[in-house]
Symmetry: C2
Subunit: 159 residues, 2 copies
DNA sequence: ACCGTGAATGCAAATCGTTTGCAATTAGCC
DNA sequence: GGCTAATTGCAAACGATTTGCATTCACGGT
């Protein structure tokens, strides 16, 4: 791990829910903002916790025990989780929002490799070189610079 | 210019329409595919030709002499131009398709720096390092790999 | 210049992901 | 248990984009 954007060096790609926040943290964060720990939120949280790759609202909704909650509630829950910095939103090129649960203190910045045939997703450690990015910022007088970066190709199974 | 994805080294960022295709080429390409050179297509083409930065369908539509053509026609024209590889589509982070006219033979691969406050756009020469990308492809057994990359920050005027 | 024909267009309706208004329900605190 | 703000379901609204269809048009051949 030498991605310049991950100075703390935690890998957010451990299998399963390794490193990801657990229920108690969700409860904490919610209480702190006077928000309620509802069944829907717990269920959504647990689904994200099991996932290694970003999930769309619809995918999360599909995982939910049917009738458990409305799709609109899924959207609202993810907005809340994002605002609480417990999930990070990604766009894997199709304009559909997808979310990944974050480990506490991790800003979640990272990238993906997506198969354009089967939509398989692979987590990527590499990041755009920090000093190149700094050049860009300096040369143009920009501050608070960051980037979105996703890779596309054809996976072994689809070739 | 040393972007690994631009081996021919033409700058597609020259001011004005420098390097960009001209009308006759549009006419050629169209004839070659038995498509018609209509007023709407010429007008749209000319608007893109004057532009240094990517334009959305709505922006193009707004530039068009009012009543000149329907918004649906703008969408259809850009699909056609894209299929003819005369424009390249970008997504600058807001999920809205934007298009830039290409120079002949240029695949148009490049990136932008976008101000998150005023949406100003700057053309960027840097590209994700080729050998890093190759590592990613090889390690995961992917072929035909490419990437989408856009930078975001706060421009000098907005700071 | 005139025709025939497939291509292109305007218009309105449809699509898709997402958001929102509102009345009914519920979690958290006393 | 009761109060109250937060949350939810539901349906309608949204904005970007696409599409069906009847009409119009560009252009190669006459
Ligand atoms: Mn990821
Ligand atoms: Mn550009
Ligand atoms: Zn990065
Ligand atoms: Zn690049």
């Amino acid at each position: 791990m030498n991605c310049p954007e991950h100075p703390h060096g935690h890998s957010h790609h451990a299998a399963g829910a390794g490193g990801r926040a657990a229920l108690p943290e969700l409860a904490d964060q919610l209480r702190r903002k006077a928000r309620k720990l509802t069944g829907a939120r717990q269920a959504i949280f647990e689904i994200l916790r099991r996932q290694l790759h970003p999930l769309s609202n619809k995918e999360i909704f599909a995982e939910l025990p049917k009738g458990d909650c409305d799709l609109a509630t899924v959207y609202r829950s993810l907005h809340l989780l994002e605002e609480m910095r417990m999930v990070k939103r990604f766009d894997l090129g199709d304009g559909i929002a997808r979310y990944e649960l974050l480990a506490e203190g991790d800003d979640g910045h990272h990238h993906h490799l997506v198969c354009t045939r089967c939509t398989a997703v692979i987590e990527i450690e590499e990041c755009f070189p920090r000093e190149l990015e700094q050049n860009i910022a300096t040369r143009n007088g920009f501050t608070a610079i960051t980037h979105k970066l996703e890779f596309f190709g054809i996976c072994p199974r689809c070739q």
